[in-house]
């Protein structure tokens, strides 16, 4: 039972809570997320987390998907997941939920999904000068410089030909 008006979503399904732990799933466009988030905020939901999934290899999706989970405060328990397929960039909802700040930075850091409108989009967990996005499915950490121990230099030819772990 949805007692909030969600204009920005393109589709909604109810989910069996006992099997999935969630009540509703919605799909939305990445650009509409601030409006959707504002609707949840008005209905006094809190933002539980923002996750990105690398579904580029999955045929039905073929792109990154950013999932936003909203949870109602108080009774009855109500969990919504809004799934936004991201083709070029996601839109930041930090204006609505300040707590989204770090989650969106992590999405950028781990998956490389740019978030438009984010006040401080820089890496969160990895060092700031790191290249690569670790949670992408095609991430290969074969940068020879990164595997340098003190005094041991792996030549690029060795790294390309042999094993990459030092």
């Amino acid at each position: 039972m949805i007692d909030l008006v969600l204009d920005g979503v393109t589709g909604s399904t109810e989910i069996e809570f006992d099997e999935r732990g969630l009540h509703h799933r919605h799909e939305a466009k990445a650009a509409d997320m601030p409006a959707v988030a504002a609707a949840f905020r008005t209905a006094r939901f809190c933002l539980e987390h923002i996750t990105c999934l690398d579904l580029r290899q999955v045929e039905e999706v073929g792109a990154f998907r950013v999932d936003y989970q909203f949870n109602r405060i108080g009774n009855p328990l109500d969990r919504h997941v809004v799934q936004a397929i991201v083709t070029d960039a996601a839109t930041s909802i930090t204006a609505v939920y300040p707590g989204a700040d770090w989650y969106e930075r992590e999405v950028f850091d781990m998956h490389g999904v740019h978030v438009d409108g984010h006040p401080n989009l820089k890496r969160l967990l990895m060092p700031e000068d790191y290249t690569g996005h670790p949670l992408c499915k095609d991430f290969l950490d074969e940068d020879p410089e990164r595997h340098q121990l003190s005094g041991v230099v792996i030549e690029p030819e060795e790294a390309a030909g042999g094993t990459a772990d030092a």
């Binding site: 006992d18 999935r20 989970q69 949870n71 108080g74 707590g99």
Partner: protein, 379 residues
């Protein structure tokens, strides 16, 4: 609607000579792990804070994508090593819920006992280290003395002291005997008296009250904005606890209160955690009295764990707050994505809102009172 908290980017201003920047760096006695706080100070007053995390990033979520569900089980304890049992059992319960595996009664009771003992040991460690940060060296040793008792009891049945792999999909891996139950019951009696001592030694101490009363107020409005959970939220007067809101395991059979306090300051958080320890004792007492006989492992557990396709979510209440696991399965052995929603991640992100305006000594008090575990933030 509260205004947007500035995502603090501390860029030193060359013209500004009245203020200075201090690095409470990754190595610091009071940041409880490798957390870096870039502080912008004027004298002793904090003007701005930028937490820098990632020093303890171990790629648990990436590991989850490359291991099957059973192989990931030991990882779960190490995400938050202080609530290792709770996370471990929570992960088992998440998979059991997805796979619709029935857990025998005795295993459920054992899980409750071990989980609540773990919660007490986590709060005891918080208590000791918090006082250490404030300068009182002695309660640390008393708390660790009690914690040793818990660790010994849990060690006798699980084989580990800190990071447990005790749960299995369908129950727990080893049964407990009467010695264990007697030791738990004895510990409960002993610890109830110790909490009184701690209240006398610490809670009523005038210096402690001066350092914590009115310091670091985290109001209930932070909940909506940041999704603060756990004792930090309950200290603001909001009675939310995963064990009551969406009971998992057999928590609905137990009679316990959700401890709240008013004010949202450090003292309130202290009182909430002390109260939670007492409530845990209550739960453990009920569990020990009512534990039935029977098997501790489900009769039919599938050999290959393949949760149904799609997204699943499971939440449990750890020592720090609401721990959520959101994972997507595609019907194979290995999850497509495992997201670990940890409470400390959120709590540290509130620091740029809570800390400015306080004094440097309060930073230590506030950081200690929100009870963060850095590996949980960085995963």
């Amino acid at each position: 609607m509260t205004p947007l908290a500035p995502s603090m980017q501390l860029v030193p201003d060359e013209q500004d000579s009245e203020t200075y920047y201090l690095n409470m760096g990754p190595q610091h006695p009071s940041t409880h792990g490798v957390l870096r706080l870039r502080l912008h100070l004027e004298g002793e007053r904090i003007l701005g804070v930028e937490p820098v995390i990632g020093y303890g990033h171990r790629a648990h979520e990436k590991m989850a994508e490359n291991r099957d569900y059973l192989q990931f089980l030991p990882n779960t304890s190490r995400i938050d090593y202080l609530s290792g049992m709770i996370y471990n059992l929570g992960y088992c319960q998440a998979i059991e819920k997805a796979m619709q595996i029935e857990v025998p009664e005795r295993a459920e009771y054992i899980r409750i006992i071990c989980g609540e003992m773990n919660r007490i040991s986590s709060h005891l460690l918080w208590f000791g280290t918090y006082l250490l940060d404030l300068g009182g060296f002695t309660p640390f040793l008393y708390a660790f003395d009690d914690r040793e008792k818990i660790l010994d009891i849990l060690d006798s049945v699980t084989g580990s002291r800190l990071t447990y792999s005790y749960g299995r999909f369908g129950g727990v891996c080893m049964d407990v005997d009467d010695t264990f139950l007697r030791a738990v019951a004895d510990f409960c009696d002993y610890f109830a008296k110790r909490i009184e001592e701690y209240h006398k030694l610490v809670t009523h101490n005038v210096i402690f009250r001066h350092r914590t009363k009115g310091v670091g107020v985290m109001g209930a409005d932070l909940e909506l904005d940041y999704a603060v959970t756990g004792p930090c939220l309950r200290a603001a007067g909001v009675a939310r606890d995963v064990r009551k809101d969406e009971p998992y395991g057999i928590y609905e059979r137990f009679d316990f209160d959700v401890v709240t306090a008013e004010g949202g300051d450090c003292l309130a958080r202290h009182m909430v955690r002390m109260g939670e320890m007492e409530q845990s004792l209550k739960i453990i007492g009920q569990a020990v009295r009512n534990i039935p006989d029977g098997p501790v492992m489900a009769a039919k557990v599938p050999k290959r764990i393949r949760p149904p396709e799609g997204e699943h979510y499971f939440a449990c209440e750890s020592g720090r707050g609401h721990f959520g696991m959101y994972f997507r399965s595609d019907g194979t052995d290995v999850p497509v994505r495992m997201k670990l929603r940890t409470p400390s991640f959120v709590h540290v992100s509130t620091m740029p809102v809570v800390l400015p305006g306080t004094m440097l000594a309060d930073t230590v008090a506030i950081l200690g009172s929100i009870d963060i575990v850095i590996p949980e933030i960085d995963r």
